[in-house]
Symmetry: C2
Subunit: 631 residues, 2 copies
């Protein structure tokens, strides 16, 4: 340690490759070597930097665990003349759960001069995450890891006893793995416990995925902590993408260093690998320079996460070429414009597939979009194939060998709409994307996904649904953002924004006469949002209650007037039940078979918002309210 | 209470409809009325009888929780002159988690004479499940419920203190919600704790889904418990199906009563609603009559769960008519024969879709199968549509508006295989199933699902994959069972069993010359099973280690000789890596978009076996072993 009480610290905001300990460790060892050259004294890597976090039940594979252990030992062995802090899995091979699985901890390791440094008071040479593990949203930690509380219980020790600083020479590190630096399951904050025992600086390696507005909150909280305890706080988070199969999360990094007055003195750009190095005076009254980070607006933040997540997911899948089915509508235009930021024009193919009800308007807009993007474009009509399918089925008789009377098959208008959508995706797009040498995209938005206003094996197909966590109105906003701020020119034609949203699958869905989707997005987006994204998610019971009390607009944050939209309660209720039935019925049936969804907000469909197929359900209180309202 | 120390007890093995508290409570109230007529003194319902267990994040909806509470109050109010025991969710509205969610317990309620009866020593009028909640397989309990340990910790009380019998008059009930009546997180068994405090009989309402061999184990364990503590044990489980979206579980019931010597004195048939009523002498030395239940073989047990789960899932989705694409192979034949047990012949349509490489052999077998089943049958060729797709894409040029050179598209042989599979499912089957008035099935087995030997939007489509938890060899066994024991005649033609398994998608997959799938199922099934179903799941590291040591046959339980299959290590390793790459790569990509899978064993794909898309991975130790073996 330097005698001047200034310590050269470096945070490594690295991309963690989930499930690939050897790759992660190799890059960490490179960082250790570079840090030694730069005379770094304290080198900090993020939580679970070796194994990754979201790796499903890979935690149950013992060969994987052994590989993680061997990587961690290599890092400890490399900590010559340096303190190295990193997160990984710790295994207690002697303990097994009731179903035979070995005991594991989400742990912080510290090493100095080739040896592990343990916080005193506990049985293990590492810091253990959390009194109780997070068990909300996408988290599955309590499935895999033993928490501090359980361990304390076994040892007959208060958890506070196991919460100690790590002391190395004259330096005392308060190490944390809590996402929000505050664990409500402690009676007092772990920072408080640590600082009572004397801490020079806090190191928080808690890593978490991007969510809209997360960083603002974290920033406020961490700054307050550093200020309150009068100690610098180092926060490191990793980058990259991780998934639970169905839901793909981006990790944004955004690591930073707070001084003892809570000011950000160094900050890493989000969504890129970076190192923050700082000579950190650890005396109580030292002052550091201050830098500020610009606050962006929501859609810009969301766009950055989508672009980053999409690029990384393409890379993960080893995909170079992408085909986008473009209808001339806003969703496919936004998806196509987004991919053009990631791929060169010769790796992007836009395909328009006119059917019996496609208007010249939308074909013209699709062409214009492709011309603006300068990528490949092809029109492949589906009319002949739709005719063939109708001819093969309509009016045909089916027979049984038995004495059953034969039956005649007939495709209704609605069924023929789905025939068109499936023909586009499963027949044309899947084949042309393969011939082009890649995959095709799913352009579904969250509004459609919520109520299943989409065709299974049709427009719900694709290798990734990268805008499926955005409501329709947010897709429009993203389109405007792409033109205004990303491309700085009209890449998505104005006509696409003006178009009535429509599937163009029947004569009744005519964009030129303004006939389109049965959804009024400014209202329905808000309604669906309250079912899916609010932390205390609503059901028709709350909606009807608020409606009856005249408070629905305010509760949903809808700017218009509900009464103007629906007139009478029976119309309002019919609309509410129509979409609730679809949300809990066919919407979910379709979501189960949907592509992976890129999460950018709280409660993305899939692993974050877990659902069971149970059919549409109404509480008795709802039914009573409804009966009262309808007289 | 009767003074004679004989108590008339009734267990209600009911179908629980998940997410429908009012429906469940209404049927429970009917049971209460019937029980009163029959002078029942102790009426026992299963765990979570009001809300259901697998309901995803529905637990976060407060309107739902309030409805559950109101239903529980109604049951308490109905407990006139009777003890009623049931499971439901208990809510502590005053306590909230760190993310705002209200505190919930998985609870056992007991009521007597219209009042709740509480175990003494705790803060709540109900019994709380488990010290720590199950967090393996499909369980998500720790996400939603506070466990006994956390509560004990808050109260500063040992968990043992909160584990008390419920006393009603002279009767003392030892109530349990532990799946295996043994909680490894206690230092001693909860039964032991309860019995030390004096218990007349044990009531275990722990409910769990069917898994192969579960009941044998449970039976052994519970019998031992009853014997050891010398007290009768009442075990009640519910029936019905519940799902986590992706994975569908059947609940088999199989409730029973053990006397104080551990003998089964009354048992309910599995997979059907039933009541067990018994005048139970609760004096220590009383003897009861004994009944035995036949032990069935595995495939019969599995078949019963598949038939039950499929029937219930059809009902849940409101589906009456089913279309099965039949290739003439074993998978579709088993699926079709299974549906014929559930549906009358006029509600079942078999469709054969000959393509360019379909042999007369398989068409003949498909026809024969349909004739044996007496249901509707139709042949709809896909040749014309495949030609059309090839014509629309092959040799076509794509252009960009820019200065990019045009490119020419070409479908390879492999791509054309997938075109055929997609044409069958997404174009023909989806349309004809709609025109017939229902859905079509997914006939994929677990071997295919593991390594993605199936086409996305092709044969992996369907409303439910009801044999996707069975390995290929198990599908054959199920086929034989259907002929031998279910139909008791040759409903699946012998030729289907003799056929080489083949997709018939290219000239190289010719069943008549014995060319087919690239999998040798007797071996590969065993290999894949070790990756997926073993509790300590293997990776190529263990496989190669066993191979090198000459122990692989024994470890996998493969009857043949590996050396005979692969000759040299390089051939063995190439095969191992080929399938491991597919299992972790395209296999998972496809599973993410697969239909719901009916679980019948441990580790069904989906929510039971959680996976993250991370690409194929090998440990360093594997790579070293491989290098050594290859010299």
């Amino acid at each position: 340690m330097s005698a001047s009480r200034v310590i050269r610290a470096r945070l490594v905001q690295m991309e963690v490759l989930p499930g690939r300990p050897a790759d992660n460790a190799a890059r960490m060892l490179e960082q250790v070597r570079a840090a030694r050259t730069d005379r770094v004294e304290l080198l900090v890597f993020p939580e679970m930097a070796i194994p990754g976090c979201l790796i499903g039940d890979e935690w149950e594979r013992e060969a994987f665990l052994r590989e993680c252990e061997s990587c961690a030992r290599a890092l400890v062995a490399a900590s010559d003349r340096m303190i190295v802090v990193f997160g990984s899995v710790a295994v207690d091979w002697a303990k097994r759960n009731e179903d035979g699985r070995v005991r594991k901890y989400n742990a912080l390791f510290a090493a100095h001069d080739r040896r592990p440094v343990a916080p005193r008071g506990g049985p293990y040479p590492f810091v253990i995450k959390k009194t109780f593990h997070p068990n909300y949203r996408q988290f599955d930690d309590s499935r895999h890891f033993c928490d501090l509380r359980k361990l304390a219980d076994e040892l007959g020790t208060p958890t506070e006893r196991l919460t100690r600083p790590i002391r190395i020479g004259r330096l005392s590190l308060g190490c944390l793995l809590c996402e929000d630096a505050w664990d409500s399951d402690y009676s007092i904050s772990p920072l408080e416990i640590l600082s009572r025992r004397g801490v020079d600086l806090f190191v928080n390696i808690s890593s978490s995925p991007f969510t809209l507005n997360k960083n603002h909150k974290r920033n406020r909280l961490y700054a307050a902590h550093a200020r309150r305890f009068g100690r610098p706080l180092l926060y490191v988070n990793h980058t990259g993408i991780q998934n639970n199969g169905k839901t793909v999360f981006t990790f944004d990094g955004a690591s930073c260093i707070y001084d003892q007055r809570g000011r950000v003195v160094s900050a890493a750009s989000p969504f890129s690998e970076a190192q923050l190095t700082l000579d950190l005076p650890i005396a109580p009254s030292a002052r550091l320079g201050e830098t500020a980070r610009p606050v962006e607006d929501d859609i810009a933040e969301v766009y950055r996460a989508i672009e980053y997540g999409t690029r990384k997911f393409l890379h993960l899948c080893g995909i170079k070429r992408v085909t986008v089915g473009v209808s001339g509508g806003i969703d496919s235009a936004v998806v196509a414009a987004g991919y053009r930021r990631i791929l060169s024009p010769d790796y992007l193919l836009l395909v328009n597939m006119p059917g019996p009800f496609t208007s010249p308007t939308t074909i013209r807009l699709a062409r214009e979009l492709a011309a603006n993007l300068g990528c490949f474009y092809k029109e492949l009509p589906i009319r002949e194939s739709v005719r063939l399918t109708r001819r093969q089925i309509n009016g045909r008789r089916i027979r049984a060998s038995d004495r059953l009377p034969p039956q005649r098959l007939e495709l209704s208008g609605f069924m023929t709409e789905n025939v068109q959508a499936r023909d586009r995706s499963s027949r044309v797009l899947a084949a042309i994307a393969a011939a082009f040498g890649g995959v095709f995209t799913c352009n579904a938005n969250k509004s459609e996904a919520t109520v299943g206003y989409t065709t299974l094996y049709g427009d719900l197909c694709g290798y990734l649904a990268n805008i499926a966590d955005l409501w329709k109105m947010e897709v429009y906003a993203l389109g405007r953002h792409l033109n205004r701020a990303v491309y700085r020119r009209t890449i998505i034609p104005a006509g696409i924004f003006d178009l009535t949203p429509s599937a163009e699958l029947s004569a009744a869905q005519n964009v030129d006469t303004g006939q389109g989707d049965p959804l009024f997005y400014p209202y329905h987006d808000r309604l669906f949002m309250s079912w899916v994204e609010r932390w205390n998610r609503t059901t028709p019971e709350e909606i009807l209650e608020w409606y009856a009390a005249g408070r629905l607009e305010k509760k949903l944050g809808y700017a218009g007037r509900i009464g103007k939209l629906f007139g009478t309660p029976d119309v309002f209720i019919a609309d509410l039940e129509r979409w609730w039935n679809r949300y809990q019925g066919m919407g979910l049936v379709k979501r189960i078979q949907a592509p992976p969804i890129l999460a950018v907000k709280r409660r993305a469909f899939g692993f974050d918002h877990r659902e069971s197929l149970m059919g549409a359900r109404y509480t008795r209180r709802y039914l009573a309210l409804k009966a009262k309202l309808l007289g």
